[in-house]
């Protein structure tokens, strides 16, 4: 199983190219770091990989085939700000089970407590809400997970807890993880290789 981005270029409307001809690939079970200066298009690239945007040029392929746009999308993205990634008018339980019926194993692994499920998003802390967003994305049908500054807003203990859980799941299911982060220590700790987005494209 391999996810590859082939010659991806992107621009927003009529503005200049944000990046040009980026080639990137990740195999299943692999942890790859993605870094680069802020504003170089890391988040946009992630959004393209996860199917939120279509590239201006190039294509995203899974095992060499284009990804089906209907049904469950096998590449899931977890954002930096969980509060912006949930519907504020839905109770947590509804948000949690939006993509799949989250099983007990995942809940326990991520330390999600029963009491949170009946609350509103604004009543949970960032760390608690982020766990919900991660659980939501960890369906068995997810083959690649993109963590776009996923634990940047969290304290060290929560960060270590969450990554330990995600590592366990990734290992069991041979899921590929893309870690987008500015934090060198974290990327170094988690990833087998690191790609600098501003160096892989054409200037």
């Amino acid at each position: 199983m391999q996810l590859s981005a082939e010659g991806i270029s992107f621009r927003y409307q009529q503005r200049s190219m944000l990046f040009k001809e980026i080639n990137f690939s990740i195999k299943q079970g692999e942890f790859v770091g993605l870094t680069g200066p802020s504003g170089c298009g890391k988040s946009t690239f992630c959004r393209i990989l996860a199917g939120y945007e279509s590239p201006t040029e190039g294509a995203i392929r899974l095992n060499g085939l284009p990804i089906k746009r209907n049904g469950y999308y096998p590449i899931q993205l977890v954002f930096q700000h969980p509060e912006k990634a949930v519907n504020p008018r839905w109770k947590i339980e509804k948000t949690l089970n939006e993509g799949w019926k989250v099983d007990k194993e995942i809940l326990e692994l991520l330390g999600i407590e029963k009491g949170w499920l009946t609350r509103w998003p604004n009543e949970l802390s960032g760390g608690e809400l982020q766990r919900i967003c991660i659980a939501r994305a960890l369906s068995p049908r997810t083959q690649f997970l993109i963590a776009d500054e996923m634990t940047t807003m969290l304290d060290a203990i929560t960060q270590a807890q969450i990554w330990q859980a995600v590592r366990t799941v990734a290992k069991n299911r041979r899921m590929g993880i893309i870690v987008v982060s500015h934090e060198e220590h974290l990327v170094e700790r988690l990833c087998e290789r690191v790609v600098r987005l501003d160096e892989v494209g054409i200037k």
Binding site: G39, Q80, E149, Q161, L190
Partner: protein
């Protein structure tokens, strides 16, 4: 004399559990911190430990259902609600945590200039943008057109060009790349070195260590330790509280070891020491009463076993 002092602060929220039933949620309890001129105090701790609430309480921008007790004084004077409105934005600048605090309908250059009260605000804003590597064109963009890191730099610019005596920076650095982050941190350091003061609320211990003088560690709505920066080193053996040690050891560069459990919810705080249920050293004495903050080796700690 501290320029800003918070004594015995407690905050609770009134919430409706059903149509006619209210409940009080205690979110901050008996919290003490002091900020001296020329100093950077870093406030670190888990999310939900009340770090941001402390900032909001000082500025007087908590929602209407908050009940606040305790004393907050600025320059030796206990501040009232009307004084708070006067201080904020003038004497106390705030760098909010969420980039959603930007006005979505105003160009960011204009928003930044708004906080500059005297003199040529356009050139001041351009200078500060240049310092944080925001291109000239950025001032004419709307917040939704900015990347996360750019929006943070915009928020930082707003505080840096004000004439405030104190900056309260609530998580100013996440999402910034290392070069810009260094610039942001060193400008906070310069701000303090001018005889002003900074309260840096962050969970990024790494950057706190680079610039702060003292670090206050928060857990479940109160301070568990206040320590000089130099104590955060090695295996954390100089730290006083078990939570601070656990936090130190969970950093990716120091072991990446999480401890079990979660920070308790405000409505189900344990009796006694708030960290007790997750602490390896806890015994039955820890479950009795919440320990007082005591002085120890040039710092403060809230633990009966601390040595």
């Amino acid at each position: 004399m501290p320029i800003l002092e918070v004594e015995n602060l407690s905050i609770s929220f009134t919430q409706y559990t059903s149509l006619f039933k209210q409940e009080q949620h205690q979110v901050i309890s008996s919290l003490n911190v002091a900020l001296e001129e020329g100093e950077i105090l870093a406030v670190v701790g888990s999310s939900g430990s009340g770090k941001s609430l402390l900032a909001h309480a000082i500025l007087g921008i908590l929602p209407a259902n908050a009940n606040i007790t305790g004393k907050i004084s600025y320059d030796g004077v206990v501040i009232s609600e009307s004084m708070q409105a006067d201080l904020r934005g003038n004497k106390i600048a705030f760098i909010p945590q969420s980039v959603t605090y930007l006005d979505p309908l105003m160009k960011v250059g204009k928003q930044v200039r708004y906080s500059h009260k005297s003199g040529d605000s356009i050139s001041a804003q351009r200078k500060v943008f240049e310092r944080y590597q925001l291109k000239q064109g950025v001032e004419d963009l709307f917040p939704f057109q900015l990347s996360g890191g750019m929006a943070r730099r915009t928020l930082l610019s707003t505080a840096m060009i004000s004439d405030a005596k104190i900056i309260i920076a609530d998580e100013p650095t996440p999402g910034m790349d290392p070069v810009v982050m260094k610039e942001a941190l060193s400008s906070l350091r310069e701000f303090a070195d001018e005889g002003r003061a900074v309260m840096l609320i962050t969970h990024d211990i790494d950057s706190a260590l680079k610039i702060a003088d003292k670090i206050a560690v928060f857990y479940a709505g109160t301070t568990v330790e206040i320590a000089p920066v130099a104590d955060f080193c090695g295996d954390g053996e100089l730290l006083r509280h078990p939570y601070s040690k656990a936090l130190w050891k969970a950093l990716p560069q120091n072991g990446f070891v999480p401890i079990k459990g979660n920070q308790p919810q405000p409505n189900s705080l344990p009796s006694g020491c708030l960290f007790g249920p997750r602490c390896d050293a806890a015994n039955k004495d820890c479950g009795q009463i919440q320990p007082e903050m005591v002085e120890l080796r040039g710092g403060m700690v809230r633990c009966i076993h601390a040595t």
